[in-house]
């Protein structure tokens, strides 16, 4: 009897509470770049103009907002709205935006800010607003020397990017590359460094020695590169901040592409010893050289996985140049590419999920990505000649260089730096003063 009563009781209770909730699955959305309004930063009264070398920079608030806008546009993820459609004064917008006005121009996010420049100090504060929800998303302030105003713009771009996409930005970074000038048969190659948007170019070598394959350390502002001194390849280490340069070692025969390990304590490279090219590591503290591969074929272009446990490299041990992956001690070598054509310059993504590569097939060069087991190959861009991809620190964008055809006298030749994101649709030329090749992307400067 008791059971019956409790059963009836439960029946009544459940019957009353079991109201069906309407559920709708949303599996599609809009992949258009997010409309964002970057209001010119308000400059406080009494602020001075910034002197940078011989040039005087006026309207620093507008200049900072322009740099942010260019960063967003180049990323392909944002659509910065035209400033002439803005109706609210930047000063008031920074304190209390009229969201209805910003919604009218279809903005979904708004960046406002203000700048104070005194003699030797620049203070920039900014706010990011969710226009639709009518609330503040992030607010930060930075103080630095006035000459650093571009870096502040890049840091603001990174913070906004991170807040709106959920992944780290890549704007406050630098690119080291080989600056080239002169005719094709007699090129002058200098080591150069610039901001990721092509600004602030500085030359690190004079151009009297051939420089090749500069690579950034993932941990700090060190660069390793290869240079020929009296026709002998030397591997150098250069500290960008101090300008101090040191020779890591002279290596026999052909030496290629030195690259840092993820912890920055080793350099991995390939060089030919006794007529056979293999992969070696060098401990930067002890200077001990260790042989990683031992094969009769040509093994080159090694690159560590971000956790340092694996190395990808290219080898012709199968008869054709293909990409292989092995453990960092050289064991368990496994071929991962089986497609048509030749594969080279593999680079492991900082996220660890993809490997970028150069592919040559039927005389055309491709930059592509694939998973670390070789599956899911995607060719992002095709051209007459292009190679040497390097990842942005967030693993979303690749930088590489592309050469144009020349006639028999070498006329019409040029080498330019390009970037492309993982979608394959956002390909951009990076403007440089001279021709450029062999780019390498740094980690975030303000990490």
């Amino acid at each position: 009897m008791k059971k019956l009563i409790s059963f009836i009781f439960c029946l009544f209770i459940f019957n009353s509470s079991a109201e069906a909730l309407v559920e709708v699955d949303i599996t599609r959305g809009n992949l258009e770049p997010l409309p964002i309004a970057v209001s010119p930063l308000h400059v406080e009264l009494g602020s001075k103009d910034i002197k940078q070398g011989n040039t005087i920079i006026k309207n620093i608030g507008e200049r900072i907002s322009e740099v942010i806008e260019i960063n967003f546009r180049r990323s392909g993820l944002f659509n910065p709205l035209k400033k002439n459609s803005f109706v609210q004064n930047p000063e008031i917008a920074h304190v209390k935006p009229r969201f209805e006005d910003w919604r009218l121009i279809k903005a979904q996010a708004l960046v406002t800010g203000q700048v104070i420049v005194s003699d030797d100090k620049l203070r920039v504060e900014f706010r990011l607003w969710d226009v639709v929800a009518a609330k503040e998303m992030i607010a930060l302030a930075f103080s630095t020397t006035p000459n650093n105003w571009r870096r502040v713009a890049h840091i603001i771009s990174d913070k906004v990017y991170q807040r709106l996409t959920g992944e780290e930005g890549y704007f406050d970074t630098r690119i080291v590359y080989v600056s080239e000038s002169g005719p094709k048969t007699q090129r002058y190659k200098k080591l150069a460094i610039m901001d990721q948007d092509g600004a602030n170019v500085k030359y690190l070598t004079l151009g009297n020695e051939l420089v090749l394959t500069p690579r950034f350390s993932p941990k700090n502002q060190l660069v390793t590169y290869l240079s020929y001194f009296r026709n002998l390849p030397r591997v150098y280490l250069l500290d960008i901040e101090t300008g101090v340069q040191e020779v890591v070692g002279d290596f026999p025969g052909m030496t290629f592409a030195p690259r840092f390990s993820p912890d920055g304590k080793k350099i991995i490279m390939s060089f030919a010893k006794d007529g056979n090219s293999d992969i070696y590591t060098m401990n930067l503290e002890t200077r001990l050289v260790e042989k990683i591969t031992d094969h009769t074929s040509i093994d080159t272009s090694p690159s560590y996985s971000p956790d340092g446990k694996y190395i990808c490299f290219n080898s012709d041990r199968s008869g054709l140049q293909q990409i292989y992956v092995m453990r960092s001690d050289g064991s368990q070598v496994k071929r991962i590419t089986f497609g048509k054509g030749l594969y080279g310059t593999p680079v492991w993504s900082p996220r660890g999920d993809l490997i970028a590569f150069t592919k040559v097939h039927k005389g055309q060069f491709y930059i592509g990505v694939m998973r670390t087991d070789g599956s899911g190959e995607r060719l992002l861009t095709e051209n007459f000649y292009q190679e040497a991809p390097s990842w942005s620190p967030n693993g979303r964008v690749l930088i590489f260089y592309r050469e144009t055809k020349s006639d028999s006298e070498g006329k019409g030749f040029s080498a330019k730096l390009w970037s492309i994101d993982l979608t394959g649709y956002n390909e951009r030329l990076i403007e440089t003063e001279t021709d450029g090749s062999d780019p390498s992307w740094s980690s975030l400067l303000s990490k």
């Binding site: 009544f12 699955d25 949303i26 959305g29 809009n30 969710d130």
Partner: protein
């Protein structure tokens, strides 16, 4: 004796209270049903008993003659729609053409039937009462086939209308509206779980009274920074879209709505 009466009284009163509290029809407010249409039932004879039978017979004869004439005449060629020379056939048109061709191949005699001239003796044979039965049987078969074909659809629509309170077309209209409003953050890690469930409380006109992210705790978990971004984008979509395209009736059914924003399908593509 008094003890058992007392117990019986207590038990009955408890049962009455429980019934009053928990019976669903007592809890819910009356469902707003569409207005009732009144239909008058009349005898068929009221319409069919024609007072002037002689006149009616003449009319019937006239109609019959006309019908006979139509049967014995050659049918004029049917008019075809003029098509623009540069018109690109739509996939639907191609399908139609294919179907027609298939029909011709399967039943070539049917075409002949249309152009055949019937003799006076054959006229009586044209109308065969047995064929009606066959036609009825065929229509039954076709209905059964259609039902079989649409079995999934029917089940789904039943699920939609009873379990979710929206019909398929209503659900589609709502989805289409939100698809256009949802700007997907493009930097999401495609290999992670990208499902955000949002519960909404709606007004009868489709504007949003309240929103609630169901997996709110996930936002603060380490390595789930992208989830906050995704959830915010979903909330933004709801706000941009409002008032939502909800049905004009049945507010009680959809006043609480759950939207499951799933970016995995799109990003994995």
């Amino acid at each position: 004796m008094t003890r058992s009466i007392f117990l019986s009284l207590v038990f009955h009163s408890v049962m009455i209270v429980l019934t009053a509290i928990s019976l669903p029809f007592m809890m819910r407010t009356p469902v707003d049903l569409p207005p009732i249409l009144s239909v008058d039932l009349i005898q068929i004879t009221d319409k069919t008993s024609i007072p002037f039978a002689a006149k009616a017979a003449k009319i019937l004869e006239k109609i019959k003659k006309e019908k006979e004439r139509v049967v014995s005449q050659q049918a004029p060629p049917s008019e075809k729609k003029k098509e623009k020379p540069d018109r690109i056939p739509l996939p639907e048109d191609l399908d139609k053409e294919k179907k027609q061709i298939v029909k011709k191949k399967q039943n070539p005699e049917e075409v002949k039937e249309e152009i055949r001239q019937a003799s006076e003796f054959e006229k009586d044979e044209l109308f065969d009462p047995n064929q009606i039965a066959a036609l009825i049987d065929k229509s039954k078969e076709e209905t059964a086939k259609t039902l079989k074909k649409n079995k999934k659809l029917t089940q789904s629509s039943v699920r939609t209308s009873f379990a979710t309170g929206l019909t398929l077309s209503q659900e589609d209209a709502l989805k289409a509206q939100i698809f256009g409003c949802w700007s997907l953050p493009l930097g999401l890690p495609y290999h992670k779980n990208l499902l955000v469930r949002i519960k909404l409380k709606l007004k009868p006109d489709g504007t949003v009274l309240r929103t609630e992210i169901l997996d709110h705790a996930r936002m603060n978990q380490p390595g789930q920074g992208f989830y906050k971004v995704l959830a915010e984008s979903a909330l933004r979509a709801v706000r941009i879209c409002q008032p939502l395209r909800v049905p004009p009736t049945g507010y009680e059914k959809w006043k609480d709505l759950q939207l499951n924003f799933d970016a995995n399908e799109m990003l994995k593509g």
